[in-house]
């Protein structure tokens, strides 16, 4: 029975492909990951900037996410400094969002009459994005597999209309579906004919070892501090030049450099709040510039819409 279930379970990549097909069938544009280092799928401008304004926006994408302080040199079966989030944004949030989401779990092989699926209060807040929303963490047999949020504010601005955001933790879900205890044991792809499959460890174990070392021990902190300052200045320049998308890239850059500085342990508790406020200002400034650049078009297309 267990063997049969394991054989049937999706590989890591098939799980992603299944989710893509599922959400594409529900009208989502399947985007690609953003080409910058970010801490979560929410940082993708397709979420941050596009959740603002009145236009409908329905997209899904995978976002590689980096959290330098979570690195464990490849020695912890659950923690990674680089992992994947599957992100779905539906704006405005559809009335059957919960049902659509549960359908996606069924699609990747989770039977809700065999497994205990629960919506447990978890209000989401991103101090560095000036964003918050209400929702849940979704539990499957006690494990958090998805963050489910109705965005209320982004960059300090009300979301009008509200977007629903689903963030799946892909490695966790895969570990669950494949019934493995160690992330590196996940089947990333299945063998096809003579071509062997690869494991998650085949692909990423060495990365975890090297990046953990770089994040914690090697990265040049003077360079990171300088980079932070440069990104901060460039963000302001881009805002002044009315290119908010470029400004937002610099906000993302500053946010990641801050995370690296944290991992290097060179930011004191007192300074931490200050740095976070600086990143938040960049994100908010970019969001504001984005709104300013778009609001005429929005008002023209959606009469009566106001900030």
């Amino acid at each position: 029975m267990a063997d049969a279930a394991e054989k049937k379970s999706l590989s890591f990549q098939d799980m992603i492909l299944t989710l893509h097909a599922y959400w594409a069938a529900r009208g989502c544009a399947i985007l690609q990951p953003y080409d910058m280092r970010v801490g979560a799928g929410t940082f993708h401008p397709a979420t941050t900037l596009r959740s603002l304004g009145p236009e409908p926006w329905n997209v899904a994408y995978v976002q590689p996410s980096r959290r330098p302080t979570d690195g464990r040199y490849g020695e912890n079966p659950n923690r990674l400094q680089h992992y994947y989030q599957y992100q779905v944004i539906l704006k405005p949030s559809p009335a059957d969002l919960q049902e659509q989401y549960l359908g996606s779990l069924a699609a990747i092989g989770i039977d809700p009459l065999l497994h205990d699926i629960r919506f447990v209060e978890d209000d989401w807040e991103s101090p560095t994005l000036g964003a918050w929303g209400l929702g849940w963490e979704v539990w499957c047999d006690g494990m958090e597999v998805t963050q489910f949020t109705y965005f209320q504010q982004m960059g300090g601005f009300d979301c009008k209309p509200v977007a629903g955001e689903l963030t799946y933790g892909l490695e966790r879900l895969a570990m669950y579906i494949q019934n493995v205890d160690n992330v590196y044991d996940l089947r990333f792809s299945d063998p096809v004919g003579d071509v062997p499959g690869v494991s998650y460890g085949d692909v990423f174990l060495e990365n975890e070892k090297q990046f953990s070392k770089w994040n914690f021990e090697v990265a040049d902190t003077d360079g990171l501090f300088a980079g932070f300052k440069a990104a901060e200045a460039e963000c302001q320049r881009a805002i002044e030049a009315n290119v908010p998308l470029a400004a937002y890239d610099q906000a993302i850059e500053a946010s990641h450099l801050f995370n690296l500085l944290q991992a290097r342990g060179v930011i004191s508790v007192q300074e931490r709040a200050n740095y976070m406020a600086r990143v938040r200002d960049l994100a908010k400034g970019s969001c504001k510039a984005w709104i300013d650049s778009q609001s005429d078009a929005w008002s023209a297309k959606y009469p009566g819409w106001t900030l």
Partner: protein, 761 residues
């Protein structure tokens, strides 16, 4: 799903006497468990308010909640409200026309509809009875709009406008049935209907409700137990049974029962086991991990020790009996516990004293410096409390050591993960390091007492550290003017003050608080100056090898010869100390009042002033309380009041100090043992005073307050006889002065024990 045809009964004109049940269900996406009790109360309140405004008496209400619905059943509502006739008095018919116009505008009537009664206009407005169904239809949207959630949100396409409906999570359906009739109402695009939904997974389709009568049972058939108390009972009993079946005992946790009932519509408690090897981690850690992160109950073995089991509460009756669910939950718990075990192992690789070195990275408060600064002050104070014998039988070296290590666990991984375990983990780590038990206990318990019902530590080293820590907090915040105002007490200083009082009272700690508080304030102040100096002028003293702020301060003093004149917004230490003392005494008064001690008796003792030994203060209050409950006390008080009145009327200039003398404090005293015109009654009182006065004051000095009260009681008979047998205001001015002097001496003797003028009665 069983759909039943909707039966609508045609009724005749509803009568006022007919009564009918009303069902309201507000369905929404999952309501946070912690908000459900408040939501039930809110629904009760708003429904009653709406009905009362409509003139409908509401009796018994059943209000239930599940994660996905709030339900209300009101039984026996009238089908219509009674017609009422309202009469309004208007202006006189002779009044100027503007007055009449105003009245017509107000009532919406025309002049010919008014009645003229003896030259005064009256408006008679008949309000016809209204159908309750219609009133309910209006009440439903009003209730939903007025509903106060701790946090609410917008959703869906309507949220393009700021005015869109707000609810705790998206509102997804309304059932409103009066009798068997639909109550037509609509809000935010959601129209009330007969249809609801059953369990999300067991019965995902729509189900049709007929009336309040079949609501709960229809839901039950669809795997929803709508009554939260019933679900709580299922969890409470089911979890206990699941444990008992495995030969284990559930560790009862009512908070978890309620939370799990708020997370499930069809609760199924399931027992799982985890790897026994995890039991090497302290049981509190396991329990907390299970409880906080996973909402699991834990279980004990037959010997009452934590066992390797847990009870989770599923929301489905799983096809496989829950085997997969238990397996999944076990895996999650195992991951959590291996994190905890990792912390437990990592933390112990570093000695507490080395952890403590990192405390200078944690800000205690921006004005008060780092936790390391605080530890330095607390260690000094704890040591001093021990060496001065203020905390009796306390080894000063142990007190210092415990204080220096007390906060070290704040930088450990475990406490970083579970802040609630502060203190407790430090205690474990100290013991694991082989530190003395007294030190480990003090580290573990030094935050205590943390609430009115909490244990008050009595172990000397613990008391020294706990007291020093809390006094330091109080003095520090007061020193920067950060004291509580009104209901705002962000640093929980009232709590700290009460803990201090409990420690002092329980431990019988004899200390004059004023000098102690001054000493501590000064230390805070000096640290503040040292900090300000080094922030401004850099690390000069580091060059000289000064490590602590104390050393830095001393060095500064030597370098400059004077206290550096630096701006800090710290208060003068003397002022801070006075304010803290006052605050403590205020808290003591509140505490005594709450404990049932009469406030006037508290005032009578506190009014004596100058007392800053809390133990002595309380002993005196307690003795007075007992004394005032006796006949002697009550009569003595009567005598005192009478004497005080006479003295007050006499005024000072009338009292001639023939043989009486005016003492330094302006009170007349009698010097002579004998007086020519004195009667036996006078002499008896004088003799009684002569023996009672020194007896009382000696007893007070020796803190035998009950004896002091007894000494005063000996004055009762002589003073009663005095008032019965002699005239104070004798025509003979000398005799009058003598007797006034006697009375003054009597009140003075009483005052030595308590200020009886403050006592009521």
């Amino acid at each position: 799903m069983d759909r039943q045809p909707v039966r609508r009964m045609e009724r005749e004109i509803p009568g006022v006497d007919a009564v009918t049940d009303f069902l309201l269900e507000l369905r929404s996406e999952e309501i946070p468990a912690r908000m459900q009790a408040g939501a039930r109360a809110e629904l009760d309140k708003l429904f009653r308010a709406q009905m009362s405004a409509a003139g409908i008496d509401v009796g018994d209400l059943s209000i239930w909640s599940t994660p996905r619905r709030l339900a209300l059943i009101a039984r026996d509502l009238p089908e219509a409200t009674a017609a009422v006739s309202e009469e309004l008095k208007g202006p006189r018919s002779s009044a100027p026309p503007q007055a009449l116009e105003g009245f017509l505008r107000k009532t919406g009537l025309t002049q010919d509809q008014l009645e003229d009664r003896d030259g005064v206009y009256f408006a008679v407005i008949d309000k016809p009875g209204r159908a309750t169904a219609q009133l309910l239809a209006e009440a439903i949207p009003a209730i939903i709009r007025a509903f106060a959630w701790p946090k609410s949100m917008r959703w869906g396409k309507d949220s393009a406008s700021s005015e869109s409906l707000r609810w705790v999570r998206p509102l997804s359906g309304i059932v409103a049935i009066f009798g068997e009739e639909l109550v037509p109402s609509e809000i935010g695009g959601i129209a009330a209907g007969f249809a609801t939904r059953g369990h999300r997974f067991h019965c995902p389709g729509e189900i049709t409700i007929g009336s309040a009568l079949d609501y709960a049972e229809k839901l039950r058939a669809c795997h929803v137990i709508v009554d939260h108390e019933e679900r709580q009972a299922i969890i409470r009993d089911g979890a206990a049974k699941a444990a008992a079946d495995a030969g284990l005992t559930l560790v009862a946790d009512e908070g978890l029962v309620i939370e799990n009932a708020g997370l499930t519509e069809w609760p199924v408690p399931l027992l799982g086991r985890f790897d026994e090897a995890f039991l090497e981690v302290p049981p509190e850690v396991i329990q907390l991990t299970a409880r906080v992160n996973q909402k699991y109950f834990v279980v004990n073995d037959a010997a009452g020790k934590l066992a390797n089991g847990f009870v989770c509460t599923a929301n489905i009756a799983a096809q496989d009996g829950g085997a997969e669910i238990v397996a999944g939950n076990r895996k999650v718990l195992a991951a959590r516990l291996s994190d905890a075990r990792f912390f437990w192992e990592q933390d112990r690789k570093i000695k507490l004293e080395d952890h403590a070195k990192k405390l200078d990275r944690i800000t205690f408060h921006e004005k008060l410096g780092t936790v390391a600064d605080k530890v330095e002050r607390v260690a000094k104070l704890a040591e001093w409390l021990a060496s001065e014998g203020i905390v009796p039988n306390c080894d000063p070296a142990l007190a210092r050591q415990a204080a220096e290590l007390a906060k070290a666990d704040l930088v450990t991984e475990m406490v970083g993960e579970f802040p609630e375990l502060q203190g407790l983990m430090g205690g474990y780590y100290a013991r694991a390091e082989g530190l003395p038990d007294a030190v480990a206990d003090a580290i573990r318990d030094h935050y205590k007492p943390v609430g009115q019902g909490d244990d008050v530590p009595t172990a000397p080293v613990t008391v020294a550290v706990a007291l020093a820590d809390k006094l330091d907090t109080l003095v520090g915040f007061f020193g920067y003017g950060l004291k509580p105002t009104g209901s705002k007490d962000p640093f929980a200083l009232r709590r700290a003050a009460i803990s201090i009082l409990q420690l002092i009272e329980r431990g019988g700690i004899r200390v004059h608080l004023r000098p102690l508080l001054f000493r501590l304030s000064l230390a805070c102040y000096q640290q503040a100056i040292a900090r300000a100096y080094f922030e401004r002028f850099g690390k000069v003293a580091d060059v000289f090898g000064a490590e602590s702020n104390d050393e830095k301060y001393d060095l500064l003093m030597r370098l400059q010869g004077i206290e550096p004149r630096l701006e800090t917004d710290a208060l003068n230490p003397k002022t801070a100390a006075s304010q803290v003392l006052e605050f403590l005494i205020d808290r003591l008064k509140v505490q005594q009042r709450e404990a049932g001690v009469r406030h006037d008796l508290i005032d009578a003792v506190f009014a004596l002033g100058g007392e800053n030994d809390l133990v002595r203060l309380l002993a005196r209050v307690n003795a007075l309380q007992a004394f005032m409950a006796s006949d002697d006390g009550a009569n003595l008080l009567a005598g005192y009041k009478r004497a005080a009145n006479i003295l007050k009327q006499a005024g000072k200039d009338i009292v001639i100090p023939a043989k009486a003398e005016i003492a330094g404090d302006g009170e007349p005293t009698i010097a002579a043992p004998d007086f020519a015109g004195a009667t036996d009654i006078d002499k008896t009182l004088l003799t009684a005073l002569d023996s009672a006065e020194p007896a009382a004051s000696t007893a007070v000095a020796e803190e035998r307050f009950t004896d002091a009260m007894a000494a005063l009681a000996s004055l009762r008979a002589p003073i009663d006889a005095f008032f019965d047998g002699v005239m104070v205001n004798d025509p003979d001015e000398t005799l009058r002065a003598y007797r006034l002097g006697l009375l003054a001496r009597f009140t003075g003797a009483v005052h030595g024990v308590a200020d009886f003028s403050k006592i009521e009665g």
